[in-house]
Amino acid sequence: MIDWFSGNEGYIQGALVAALLAASVQVALRAGVLSFASVGFYGVGAYGTGYLTATQGWGTAPAAAVVVIITVFLSWLLALVLARLRALYLAMATIAFVLLVQIGALAWDSVTGGPLGLFGIPPALGTGGVAVILAGVLAVNALTQRGAVGRRLLLLRKDEALASALGVNVRRQHQIAFVWSAVLGSLAGISQASLLTVFTPENLGFSVMVSALTALVVGGTWHWSGPLIGGVVFSWFLSAYLGFASDYRGVVEGALTVVVLVFLPKGLAGLSELLDPRRLRRAAGTPTGGPGGVSAGVPGGVSTGPDRPVPAPEMGVSS
């Protein structure tokens, strides 16, 4: 058991960080915010912790606390700046932000160490510490997927105008989701820096975004467990058992993502639902597919509470 753990620890760590990062993107998406800014805050978290610990000699705990506070502040500012951008415009602005963070990491030598990056970051968190952070995050996400908050999130991403007409302060909710997403990204960065003890601009940017999105989509975009499943599948099983950390990884990741997007809109987390007999009956009783169709591709169908929809009794449609 211990042998097995030490043999796989690197992969497990990879899975944990990937899951955190995927969760950071998820919490924005599930509120209807098409933002990838958390991947930029991943860099802020990693470099912030690295700088405060390795360069300034702080302890990891105070450094992490300060970095999270800075993240909240910066992401809140960014949320105000980007407040009126919607959909693809917001996506694009946040991608620009992600790439800008990478440029900043290369250029701001005195803090980031430039192209060489930072090293000698104390490995204070360890696998256990990161696992605890992830468990906490997933617990919060699981709780907020249920009840009133879960309903509000579903409403927000399905129909913003309706949400506002039912009393939801849409802009405020988007800001909260944006900041929470940034904090999770930052936590992923803090964890990664502490686990690797080194952080360079190569650990940032577009490829990180691809990995996070892949893990999220494959695991399940709308269910709290999706990031965990995706992280484990991607960073662990594929790396450890298929051993293609190298060349073809990009192809397999990309192809798997497309296949899941097309055929399994709820990701692997949605598979459990396919085995649920009540769901099966519902799927049989209602039309599927088509834009605005009923059950097939609709996100958020993973039940959010105890009273999940069941098939309607037969009713004559009067006409």
């Binding site: 998406l29 209807g32 098409l34 700046v81 980007l82 009126r84 951008l85 919607r86 959909a87 693809l88 415009y89 996506a91 694009m92 602005a93 991608i95 620009a96 932000f97 790439l99 800008l100 440029i103 250029a107 991403r157 399905k158 129909d159 913003e160 105008a161 577009f206 975004m209 691809v210 999105l213 892949t214 989509v217 060349d247 073809y248 990884r249 990009g250 192809v251 990741e253 990309g254 192809a255 993502t257 497309v258 997007l261 097309v262 809109p265 597919g289 088509g290 834009p291 605005g292 169709g293 097939a296 591709g297 609709v298 996100p299 958020g300």
Partner: protein, 297 residues
């Protein structure tokens, strides 16, 4: 300095071709196609493979082959990924998000394959493909490649603008960009139109890629990445779907970048597009986020 301006015009021409393709797919399919840069790169790889395996082909044939290859690649992506995803999406936001992620995934596939093909090294199209000549015009060096790039950009964007303005397809495309259900009114199915838009978009990316590879003398798997961001800036400046605006701002951005690079250095030049994106989006969001959710009310 005048020499710099000549270079800026060549760069602006590449930006033009690249941005026109991206603004087409965004305007007509409402997809933020992050694989556009990868298709651009794939165009150079098609050309490279062709010159490797069939040396001595004329440049025009190689360019045409890359154009067709890139167009097919874009159509394949639309048919295999975007269209099925759109068809199964619950609402517009869902469709936008999932096609965007799919485009990232496709980009990852293409860039990885090109990287493996090229051993992760820069690759060059053979010198013999296009003999270089330099002319002195009023004391400024102008190469035949620069002239070619400029002429290609002017001719192709003029053709595209004419096509979209005058042809039945073009009218249907504009109708669809305005109202997604309108294609049928012109008697063309939305399906055909979407495929046509992606084919045009891919073709433009492929041509831009080959021209850039010829102009710079080399290409590599990641060459499309930086262009993607520049094109975003151009499209936002111009307004999504505006072809004439994209042409204008492509040259404007190239010019400003060249000036900024000359006077302020390369770092500032490289950050310019990013800063522009954020600043424009923040200053003129109402002009940009034109389609409001309330319209459905």
């Amino acid at each position: 300095m005048t020499q710099q301006l000549v270079n800026a015009i060549a760069l602006g021409s590449i930006y033009t071709l690249f941005s026109l393709g991206l603004t087409l797919s965004w305007g007509i399919l409402n997809v933020l196609n992050l694989a556009h840069g990868a298709i651009f790169t794939a165009g150079t790889m098609f050309a490279f493979l062709l010159t490797e395996h069939a040396a001595g082909l004329p440049f025009a044939v190689v360019l045409a082959a890359a154009l067709v290859g890139s167009a097919l690649l874009a159509v394949l992506m639309e048919a295999v990924a975007f269209a099925p995803i759109r068809a199964r999406s619950g609402n517009a936001l869902d469709a936008e998000m999932r096609t965007l992620i799919a485009s990232v995934a496709v980009a990852s596939i293409i860039v990885t394959v090109v990287g493996i093909q090229s051993d992760h090294q820069p690759y060059a199209l053979p010198q013999s493909l296009l003999e270089r000549h330099r002319y002195d015009v009023l004391g400024v060096h102008v190469s035949n490649v620069q002239i070619l790039v400029l002429v290609a950009a002017i001719v192709l964007s003029a053709l595209l603008v004419l096509f979209v303005r005058r042809s039945r397809y073009g009218r249907a495309m504009r109708a669809v960009a305005f109202d997604r259900t309108a294609a049928g009114m012109v008697g063309i199915s939305a399906r055909t139109l979407q495929l046509a838009a992606m084919a045009l978009s891919g073709a433009l990316a492929g041509v831009a890629g080959v021209l850039l590879a010829v102009y710079l003398g080399a290409a590599d798997a990641h060459m499309g990445d930086s262009f993607l961001l520049k094109a975003f800036a151009i499209i936002i400046l111009a307004g999504v779907g505006s072809l004439e605006g994209a042409v204008f701002f492509a040259y404007a951005l190239a010019l400003v970048e060249t000036l900024v690079g000359y006077y302020l250095g390369g770092d500032v030049r490289d950050a310019l597009a990013f800063v522009l994106i954020v600043v424009i989006l923040v200053l003129r969001p109402q002009g940009l986020a034109a389609r409001q959710g309330w319209q459905r009310a």
